[in-house]
């Protein structure tokens, strides 16, 4: 190996290589050509190896990421049935007009929005509070962090099934606990708002710890001098939190909002498994059917893949709108500060 190191020395340094015996013109010429060859190989390596390193990712990405994205848009303009996915009939925008006329689509869109809000807002607020506490010097802080992250290791399936039992109407632990404090039992599965709260609880439980760690990481990156100067200016802890911590966390908060919004738009497994009737309608009266579940129902139960594609693209457009709104708000915030 050591010899190869030697011979592969880059030409830029090559001329100065010490200890080479002086040679006759023929071998000098040979040597020169050898160096040219190496130099070309070297140039090629420098030039093309970055592409070699990124191309496997992009090849897989084009096949399993980009192509499906575009193809979904294409399929949404056709009538395609699950039973014969290769038979595509051009229908223009009919899939879109049909789902816009469909009351279940709007119901699912509204549910996705409300579940998104009641799962994301408390989740991020709690995560912020816990992160603030964990930012103190604590005994067993690693234990707390790992324990808070444990739900993240739990799957949607396991978590949903456990919460179905905990939220049981007659013998569930949550109703029992409510009863203990004198609150009437709640029909967690059939009442519209309570069922949405229950579905959101599963999401909150699984993701709060993860967001906590992200906030905590950002908090630990805030320079201590900012707090010191704020304290010197007479700011109490709450004012320090408002005037130092929150502004420093703004990019992280924005990041978690975007990620949670995307996550919330895709909620699928929780409402699917929370349904006592084991259907895909999100409860007997569609009370917690999300867009993800509606897409599944249209595509895999009703076999209308074209219509399901239109739902998917509509979700995508919603997200783009939310992304633009996010961007505008963050620019406003930055401009005002």
């Amino acid at each position: 190996m050591a010899t190869r190191h030697d011979t592969a020395a880059p030409p830029a340094e090559g001329g100065a290589a010490p200890g080479r015996p002086p040679a006759d013109p023929v071998s000098l010429e040979k040597e020169r050509r050898r160096r040219d060859r190496l130099s070309r190989r070297w140039q090629r390596d420098i030039r093309w190896s970055p592409y070699a390193f990124v191309s496997p990712f992009f090849l897989l990405f084009v096949a399993f990421g980009l192509f499906p994205l575009i193809y979904t848009g294409w399929a949404s303009l056709h009538q395609v049935e699950l039973t014969a996915p290769t038979d595509m009939n051009w229908v223009g925008l009919r899939n879109y007009t049909r789902i816009f006329d469909d009351e279940f689509f709007w119901n699912a869109a509204k549910n996705t929005l409300t579940i998104g809000i009641i799962s994301t807002v408390p989740q991020l607020l709690m995560a912020m509070g816990i992160a603030h506490l964990l930012n103190y010097k604590l005994r067993a802080s690693t234990f707390f962090r790992v324990a808070m992250l444990a739900p993240y290791a739990t799957s949607i399936a396991a978590a949903s099934l456990v919460f179905v039992l905990l939220f049981g109407r007659d013998y569930g632990m949550i109703n029992w606990a409510l009863d203990m404090v004198g609150i009437n039992p709640v029909d967690w599965q059939n009442d519209k708002w309570y069922s949405q709260i229950a579905v959101s609880t599963i999401i909150i439980w699984r993701w709060t710890g993860y967001n906590t760690l992200i906030y905590l990481a950002a908090m630990q990156a805030i320079p201590q001098d900012l707090y010191e100067s704020a304290a010197l200016d007479g700011a109490n802890r709450w004012q320090q939190f408002i005037h130092v911590t929150l502004p420093a966390l703004r990019p992280t908060i924005l990041f978690t909002c975007v990620v949670s919004t995307i996550g919330a738009s895709q909620v699928f497994g929780e409402p699917l498994l929370f349904d006592a009737n084991q259907g895909t309608s999100g409860g007997a009266e569609h009370q917690f059917q999300t867009l993800g579940l509606y897409l599944y129902e249209q595509g895999w139960v009703a076999h209308h893949l074209g219509r399901a594609s239109a739902i998917a693209w509509t979700m995508f457009l919603f997200l783009i709108v939310i992304g633009i709104v996010n961007y505008v708000i963050s620019r406003r915030l930055r401009a005002s500060s």
Binding site: Y51, F57, F58, P85, L138, A157, V162, R237
Partner: protein, 305 residues
């Protein structure tokens, strides 16, 4: 603090001021800094820890009780005697042996591939200069925003066309790409891999692949381990895509098998809990062992993200 050699108020000109050399402030002024948590902080954290862990513990409690007991108030708060029997039945009913094997293959393959591909791509984005780098990186970041539902339908068509339905490769192939992984490794390598080391290896005549093998991989090992674990956890827990393509239940992953237990006609609650527990247990073990590193990895990814 007692070992400071140079006086703290006279740093050499141009030298970066180190934190330890700053003059100490009066105690009141440091109030905003690293405070010790008081009893209230501990109390709140303990409550949240219990809320975090309780559903997991209760899964085991419910799995150890029979259905009559689960259909009574108050609900059970402590273990019964039936845990191991139920686990055994759930193991057989949901065919969890095969499911574990399948899921290990899927999660293992995707974790190894993603770690390898993300490391070399992340290295290129972090340390190599090439045309189109900025634009390509923007694409990588952009794809992190695309919801997976968008690709589900054409992926399903592809899988159907390739006759892969109900086969493991249908789950494996789409999970081999991770934009997050590329981003994560790039962020790590920018900092963890000094340019001088790469240059030194170059001067010694190492080709790009040798640099990757002998310099990048050793430097990236901690991040590779974290990314591998995160990917493994994520793939292990993935539900939607396996649920869609492994429809015949002949060849399920753990999550599909566990969900299947809950979707029978007469659901046996404690059996479902036993299945849920079995499906989660391996990851909880991983967490118990590597929890600290995983936490560190998530926080590391977050700071630079």
């Amino acid at each position: 603090m007692t070992t400071t050699v140079t006086p703290p108020d006279a740093p050499p000109p141009g030298a970066p001021v180190k934190e330890s050399k700053r003059p100490r402030l009066p105690k009141a002024a440091r109030a905003g800094g690293q405070l010790h948590g008081g009893p209230i902080a501990y109390a709140i954290l303990i409550v949240f820890t219990i809320v975090s862990l309780f559903p997991l513990v209760w899964t085991a409690i419910a799995a150890s009780r029979d259905n009559q007991r689960l259909a009574q108030t108050p609900p059970p708060f402590w273990f019964g005697s039936g845990l191991f029997d139920k686990l055994e039945i759930a193991w057989k009913d949901a065919n969890l042996g095969e499911a574990f094997f399948n899921t290990t293959i899927v999660a293992g393959t995707s974790a190894l591939t993603i770690v390898f591909l993300s490391t070399i791509a992340g290295f290129a984005f972090a340390k190599l200069r090439f045309r189109g780098r900025g634009a390509l990186m923007l694409i990588v970041i952009g794809t992190m925003m695309v919801p997976p539902q968008l690709s589900v339908i054409p992926l399903y068509m592809m899988v159907a066309k390739l006759d892969w339905t109900d086969q493991l490769q249908a789950v494996i192939f789409p999970s081999l790409v991770s934009a997050f992984g590329v981003f994560f490794m790039r962020q790590y390598l920018i900092q963890a891999l000094p340019d001088e080391i790469i240059e030194a290896a170059r001067v010694d005549g190492a080709s790009s692949w040798r640099v990757v093998w002998h310099v990048v991989f050793p430097a990236a090992r901690p991040a590779m381990a974290v990314l591998g674990m995160l990917t493994f956890v994520q793939t292990w827990n993935d539900f939607m895509w396996p649920f869609l393509v492994l429809t015949q239940m002949g060849n399920p992953t753990v999550q599909v098998a566990v969900a299947g237990l809950g979707r029978g006609y007469t659901p046996d609650q404690s059996l479902i809990m036993a299945g849920a527990l079995l499906g989660t247990l391996p990851l909880l073990l991983v967490f118990a062992i590597f929890g600290k590193q995983i936490v560190g990895g998530i926080m590391q990814g977050a700071v630079k993200g």
